[in-house]
């Protein structure tokens, strides 16, 4: 077990998995900026004038960071950006959970169909857990030795 955890492949796998998650989740937003703008608006956190700039740039930031993590090019910078984004997502989700605003996370392509408020709250809590787990992975990539995870 220890030997498995010490394997030099683990950092590489973590980096690629994290990159795939971000590249995949960015795609639905890149192909539908108005839909993403509506989700950002629904969070009721950003002032109106920031909603569209975020909807225009954030999906590409996710895609490029994801590709950087997968390829290994600029991976430390990408890990920093991913950690910052995840921290922001976690703060945004918890703020709305505390304020009792039920929203669709907007993180991944969501299944169609209206959800009840309690289903939405359960989803938000699961999203929080997932983001926290991803944040740990991002820290791993960010803090690992520069030689670790080199393909």
């Amino acid at each position: 077990m220890i030997r498995l955890l010490e394997s030099r492949w683990i950092p590489l796998l973590i980096r690629i998995a994290l990159g795939l998650v971000f590249a995949y989740s960015s795609w639905a937003k890149i192909t539908d900026p108005p839909g993403f703008a509506e989700m950002v608006w629904n969070y009721r956190i950003l002032p109106g004038y920031l909603v569209n700039p975020v909807a225009i740039v954030l999906p590409w930031l996710e895609l490029l960071s994801g590709l950087a993590l997968i390829s290994g090019f600029l991976r430390k910078g990408a890990a920093l950006l991913v950690a910052i984004m995840l921290a922001i997502f976690i703060i945004a989700l918890s703020t709305d959970l505390v304020r009792g605003i039920a929203i669709e996370c907007g993180c991944f392509p969501a299944a169609a169909g209206a959800k009840t408020t309690s289903e939405l709250f359960t989803g938000m809590k699961l999203d929080l857990l997932r983001d926290a787990g991803l944040l740990l992975l991002a820290f791993q990539v960010l803090l690992s030795h520069p030689a670790a995870g080199r393909a």
Partner: protein, 165 residues
């Protein structure tokens, strides 16, 4: 140990490229995917009754039979999949929503005519946001069908498919 100077420089490079590509995609990408940089959107007020009235589906049906103008506030591709018969399409989240509202007036639709906005029912807010925009454009007989398209369709009331003619 992290080389912070290098890490933040790399992050800044990725951010700059993302801003550049995002701006480019928004300027030259397909029309239906574009967004204006400045969002002109107002959240519906707590008591909207001074600007528009919320009605149920069966009241909306009576207005439909009486020839009221129906406006679909949902996304254009959703409108194409099915909408209330004769409804116009003004997707409130797409970049040309304000132009489409100006086009209503140019088409000879008068601000005192009865207009009914709808979206997908439930917690959907697009119709209310469209109603706010219509009120700003001078309309003063605005109704919002709270039940929305799914309920209308389930009742078997008249619908149509395809783009707005």
């Amino acid at each position: 140990m992290v080389n912070w100077t290098r890490t933040t420089t790399e992050a800044a490079v990725i951010l700059a490229v993302a801003a550049f590509v995002g701006t480019g995609a928004n300027s030259f990408g397909p029309e239906a995917r574009r967004l204006p940089w400045i969002l002109r959107m107002e959240a519906p007020p707590k008591d909207p009754s001074l600007l528009y009235l919320e009605i149920t589906g069966d009241v909306a049906l009576r207005l439909h039979r009486a020839g009221a103008i129906f406006i679909d506030a949902r996304r254009s591709r959703v409108y194409e999949q099915g909408h209330i018969e004769n409804a116009l399409s003004i997707p409130v989240w797409e970049h040309d929503a304000d132009d489409r509202i100006s086009a209503l007036l140019a088409k000879g639709i008068k601000p005192d005519m009865v207009v009914v906005a709808y979206c997908s029912g439930g917690k959907c807010e697009e119709a209310a946001m469209l109603a706010m925009k219509l009120a700003q454009a001078g309309f003063f007989n605005i109704y919002v069908d709270k039940d929305g398209f799914p309920a209308w369709q389930n009742k078997g009331w008249p619908i149509a498919r395809g783009r707005q003619p």
